[in-house]
């Protein structure tokens, strides 16, 4: 669905030979688990909305306030998604197809927003002044924090394209611009749409940054209404609207994407000749500089200022250390659990193609449109009703993290599994390996980089998670994100700053390792 590998060819024919076979029970279990647990929040939303009855649903949803929320949410979603798509595509082209100078450095700088959560940059901007409140500020800050989500995959897709296609088009009489839009762009479209969809879905559920920016959407309203009212009905109902919007987005993406294209045949893709920017070189350099300055430098400088301000007051080192420990522990746990579930689910889907497995694989994607609070409330309800021993334990919180962020691990792992041909494993079997050994020795090393990438992505998201942590975590738990939040809501910028700085530092390391590796690989 959100699979960014749609440009690739289908799995080889020999993969189909296994369709009839059933996966072993130990592979079916995780699939079953994901299928059931991921369905819970959706059922919760539907049942709660249903229980309140049509009349009450109509009365609660058909009011001017909800209309305002709809307008706000849609404006933010459309503007941010469109801007991210344009910026992402333009950057990808400049980095992959032009003679832009200093590409090595730009590549690292352009990935920096991954390490600066949107709520941290919102906090730094708002601490400068109230001018950044409202739609304008929200669009600016969300775009600056989300464009790498589009840029990186589109750049990767552009890099892997065979330049000979475009060259043929040129020879047949297209000028460079027409050749790009008629030949190259359609090939990039699936990736561009898939990644834009991720941005759009995120706009539906962003909470912390938009609250700080005083911009109201469905998700920020869900929290407020939940606080004013003593039931989760209203929250469930507004989430139902978000789910409906999510389905519309998914449908639009499928309609717009069209059919995928595959490069058939072996051999190395031809490297395209780079386009000279000429006089535009400096214009592009200036624009990139502006992008990085506004997106990263200013927030980081402001953050540094507040950290310095904070140290002059009191710096509760013990407490900061404790929250850092909790954050690392939970984020690593969440990432491990997500990968541990994504791997078998991806494996069953790719190798056995069962109906149930395919449905189970898609459920977590739908959850991308359900706010963390609602996912947490559904788990509170289920845990208390059926497994009270789990209530307010770290394990339940990790389950919530897995539900919320699993797709980040699912997408790369599935793509990698599709590339790992079962023939290799079969060859190992004929040489005397047991099935598990064959998997461990042959397939796992092939998909390991994808698991690592998924792990990092889930880790980064978990580190920023706020609302599910507050509702589900063990009593007394504080993470970097929740401690930051407690101080920010009462505008204690200096006290909030050390937590924000630690989030940036902790996320910065994996982001740096990822991008640095990419740079190295390209230079080889």
């Amino acid at each position: 669905m959100l699979n960014q590998a749609s440009v690739l060819a289908e799995a080889p024919v020999s993969g189909r030979a296994r369709v009839a076979r059933r996966p072993p029970i130990w592979l079916q279990l995780p699939v079953l688990l994901v299928g059931i647990v991921a369905a819970l929040p959706l059922l919760f939303v539907i049942v709660r909305t249903w229980e309140s009855g049509w009349q009450s649903a109509w009365r609660l949803l058909w009011r001017p306030f909800v209309g305002g929320l709809l307008v706000n949410t849609l404006m933010l979603l459309v503007l941010v998604t469109a801007l991210c798509a344009v910026i992402g595509l333009a950057l990808a082209w400049c980095m992959e197809r032009s003679d832009l100078r200093g590409r090595r450095y730009w590549n690292v700088l352009l990935c920096l927003p991954f390490a600066i959560p949107a709520f941290v940059s919102s906090f730094t901007w708002i601490s400068i002044g109230p001018e950044f409140e409202g739609l304008g500020g929200a669009v600016m800050i969300m775009t600056l924090s989300k464009y790498p989500v589009v840029y990186l995959p589109v750049a990767a897709a552009l890099r892997s394209l065979d330049a000979s296609l475009e060259e043929s088009a040129r020879m047949l009489g297209y000028d460079r611009r027409t050749a790009f839009w008629r030949v190259t762009f359609p090939l990039l479209k699936p990736t561009l749409l898939g990644t834009s969809l991720l941005v759009a879905l995120h706009m539906l559920i962003e909470f912390a940054a938009l609250s700080i920016l005083r911009f109201q959407t469905f998700t920020t309203a869900i929290y407020q209404q939940f606080e004013l009212e003593f039931s989760s009905t209203q929250a469930a109902m507004l989430s139902a609207v978000l789910l409906a919007m999510c389905l519309v987005l998914l449908w639009m993406e499928i309609r717009l994407r069209g059919r995928g294209f595959a490069r058939i045949g072996q051999g190395v893709a031809r490297k395209p000749a780079s386009v000279s920017l000429g006089r535009w070189q400096w214009v592009v350099q200036a624009m990139l500089l502006a992008l990085v300055t506004v997106g990263c430098v200013i927030p980081l400088v402001m953050l540094g200022y507040w950290v310095a301000e904070g140290t002059s007051a009191s710096f509760p080192l013990a407490r900061i250390g404790e929250t850092l420990g909790a954050s690392l522990y939970l984020s690593l746990g969440g990432a491990l659990l997500s990968c541990a579930l994504a791997l078998p689910v991806g494996f069953v889907v790719v190798r056995y193609k069962g109906r149930f497995a395919q449905a189970a694989e898609r459920l977590p994607y739908l959850l991308q449109a359900v706010p963390g609070l609602v996912v947490a409330l559904s788990l509170v309800f289920v845990a208390l009703s059926y497994v009270p021993a789990l209530y307010q334990t770290t394990l339940l919180l990790l389950v919530a993290y897995a539900l919320l962020f699993m797709p980040m691990a699912q997408a790369p792992i599935r793509t990698a599994l599709e590339k790992a041909s079962p023939q290799l494993e079969e060859a190992a079997r004929t040489l005397g390996c047991k099935p598990l050994t064959a998997f461990l020795k042959v397939t796992l090393p092939i998909v390991f980089p994808a698991i690592a990438a998924g792990f990092v992505l889930v880790f980064l998201d978990t580190l920023k998670e706020l609302t599910a942590t507050l509702v589900l975590g063990p009593t007394g738990l504080d993470t970097l994100a929740t401690a930051f939040w407690s101080h920010t809501t009462v505008l204690e910028y200096a006290a909030a700053a050390p937590y924000a700085a630690l989030i940036v530092l902790v996320s910065g390391l994996p982001v740096y390792l990822m991008t640095a590796r990419k740079v190295r690989r390209r230079l080889d």
């Binding site: 407020q224 606080e227 003593f230 461990l440």
Partner: protein
Amino acid sequence: MNTRPLNVVARLAAATLVGTLLAGHAMADPVTLTLYNGQHEATGVAVAKAFEEKTGIKVQIRKGGGGQLANQITVEGERSPADIIYTEEAPPLIKLAQDGLLAKVDDATLAQVDPRYVDDNGYWLGITLRARVMAYNPDLVSEEDLPESARDVAGPEWQGKIAFVPSSGEFLGHTAAMIKLDGREATEEWLIGLKAFGGTYMNNVTAMKAVENGEVGAALVNSYYWAALHKEKGQLKSKLHYFSNGDAGGLVSVSGAAVVKASKHPKEAQQFLAFMISEEGQKAVLSKSAEYPVNPNVAADPLLKPFDELQPPQLTPAQIGLAEDALELEREVGLN
């Protein structure tokens, strides 16, 4: 090839899962109270700490919004791990009392608090009192332009000058009081005016700071938000304007606490409530939030107008109740 990565990953995973399963059940023997704190975080922490020091009984704090925590106790029912709930406003406590989820507060404790600020049936009690005021910035709103009643700030002359927080329980209480005093129609008109001419803020702290920074002329808030900012900055440009003559804009509400019925340590929980209204407990609360103490032996912050000089409307928190009518009206108007 090597299988190391998986081995390490698997072991880490197993260790994490086992460790976490145990983590939730580690505490046992000596009594540890669990406080669901919907009051400002620092305030809850301060009382809990003072209580720990005095009695040696540990207090674990779960933070969250009052409404959210009350809702959580409702879902938890008999299984609730909470012993005490402490909220910024009375409605979450009123709701829990209605649903039979609270235990009665000890008579001896109730007797120490003015009956206006405790539940009629004794299920919760007020800890501190909070007065609504208008904070204003003299650079933008001159003293002679100050309105006599909060009713008067909803007109075009206040365009862009008045801030309010429609998502707060305090504003909801204000609206509910106005419905009781002036009727539904007048309140509806007032809300429509505020919506048209005023600026909405996400919470009282942001509204208060906006006034101080000159971004907006005045804000309808509770007085301790002004006092808190005063404490932080040492000196403030903005001032407080108290509505008198029983105006809804001068409503006094309570921040309260209760013992959860499912509490496994009711004795210690009652002890905690008694401590909250003792001189030491009240001082701990006031050290973090300049509200009015319910204990007459404790002095309020001298920055604020003395409590007996206030002229709030004669409406008790019990009379305001859940303020469901106010929420409905705010929704009709499009504020919520």
